[in-house]
Subunit: 318 residues, 2 copies
């Protein structure tokens, strides 16, 4: 059997590069997901996940994460987590609980402390400055406070054919206290079935949860569609519905992989993602929505793009 | 066009009886859902919803609720709500927000207070006694603390063909702080599309969210299945999967109604539910799972059953 991982955003690539090495050596999909997402959570310059994630409207970092095991459908999730170093690790632990597997608010830190997880102040000096600058901008203009909601979501298949997926996010920048998006919600932010495949989403959580797009993508793969056809059909069908019925549709980007390591992507905005499989070195791609409603244009990210990205995320903040 | 409501558990009946009178006079499905669920939340003897709901392991009542508008897919939800009198009303209000439409933990009370919602200590003397007795029982035996997770869920269609649904629950008795079940999760606890129909679930939330059963039921109705066929197929297919893949499956009960007011029910345990339509007076039914895996046996609840129920829920607690 083959192995592979697909994940949302450029930030996921280092994590999946390391984790697929482990998959090549017989590591499990469960471990790959947790290890790879932890790397993203720990890197301080990714401002939408884990340590260094941007805070809510009162300056508090509140994090959401989920883990799903595609063998038995076990799910663990946290939302509004404060002060826990690795929300994905707590979510994975919760997935083994028969009861109380989705915990929110204060309860997350209480559970994490009792279970021996590492605690950490998740607010970096850099994130605090970005927040403070945004408050200034908002006081000077009518700028919408909401901006940025780049969840890292990953799907993995290991050599035994076992699949898992996970998500981690600081959610919408300047969100209200306790706001939760799609990332910890089964079927919306993520879904995986080892007998079929998995999918995960990023974008405007408030709109993604209206369509259960990760579940729908996996279901369509289960009817025999290739991942690219399934994820494209799930996303465009619902995005069109939402345009027609509500008059607008937020940013939607999804990635999918089946249990053969085949993959696909759907998006209605410019979107970076990362893939590594038995036959493909870890690669960062850019996807652009097609104007005719067809499959997105996909190209390998250029060195110039990667350099500009790294410069941008590490640029000094006044 | 016709009108109607279906809802989980006997406790829903007075609410839908009142709300369908309003539907008969041209009231909206949105108002019907909020009014009917508020009646359940306000009645102190229903121990799994709203005021009088059973507390978590530390004696705190934490409530979950959600509202969905089937015309435009707007969703509002709260989880781990403390001290808010009517979580369903807050959820409905949140459904109008483009951002921050799902709020958990402390954030719920903060939002509710700012928006002028009524606050109330949701712990009744009766619920406190029940909790305290349970602690005693647990200290004397190896009794599992978890018991009771009777979410009220409702689906409504009004004379214009507009549909809505909602849920409200105190969740699992003795749950850990911040535990969330399926009730506020789109696609798992509820889903509705006015062009098709709606569905809502009650049972073990940790297992219900593994299958996105409310979404799947609505999707199947959208392929042309009658509500009874759709809800039965959604539930039994996934319950069988879970038995095979995980070795066990928690309590699952779902009700569904399409936009013609036709309805169906699926359950793997004894389950009461209530229906009222243009052609059916408010009626309480009991459903029993069929041994052959076919549709459940459905009968009107006898006066004897109703009397015993009322006696049980209002019996003095020592």
């Amino acid at each position: 059997m083959t192995y592979g991982m697909i994940a949302t955003w450029r930030m996921a690539c280092d994590g999946i590069a390391a984790a697929t090495k482990d998959l090549a050596n017989g590591g499990t999909s469960q471990k790959a997901i947790v290890d790879a997402i932890k790397m993203v959570e720990d890197y301080p310059f990714y401002k939408s996940v884990g340590y260094g994630g941007l805070p809510n409207e009162v300056g508090m970092v509140e994090l959401d994460a989920a883990f799903m095991n595609g063998d038995n459908f076990d799910i663990g999730a946290v939302a509004g987590s404060r002060g826990v170093k690795n929300p994905i690790a707590v979510a994975e632990k919760l997935s083994h609980e028969r009861f109380n597997s989705f915990i929110v608010g204060d309860g997350v830190a209480k559970y994490a402390i009792k279970e021996g997880f590492e605690m950490q102040n998740m607010l970096t000096e850099r994130a605090k400055k970005t927040w403070s600058n945004r408050l200034d901008e908002m006081s000077r203009s009518n700028l919408s406070p909401y901006d940025g909601h780049d969840t890292v979501g990953m799907v993995a298949v290991d050599k035994t054919g076992s699949m898992s997926c996970g998500t981690s996010s600081s959610g919408l920048f300047m969100k209200k206290e306790g706001r939760v998006g799609d990332s910890p919600l089964s079927g919306s932010g993520f879904y995986v079935d080892s007998e079929i495949g998995g999918a995960t989403a990023t974008g405007l959580g408030e709109d993604l949860m209206k369509g259960c797009l990760s579940y729908e993508t996996v279901r369509l793969m289960g009817t025999g569609l290739e991942p690219q056809a399934a994820v494209h059909q799930a996303m465009t069908t619902f995005a069109n519905q939402l345009e027609r019925r509500k008059g607008k549709c937020g940013a939607f980007s999804l990635v999918a992989m089946n249990n053969k390591g085949e993959w696909g992507v759907a998006t209605n905005v410019e979107f970076s993602f990362a893939v590594a499989t038995e036959n493909l070195e870890p690669t960062i791609y850019l996807a652009y929505p097609a104007e005719d409603g067809g499959y997105p244009t996909i190209e390998v990210a250029s060195q110039e793009w990667l350099d500009a990205y790294q410069t941008r995320i590490t640029a000094p903040i006044q």
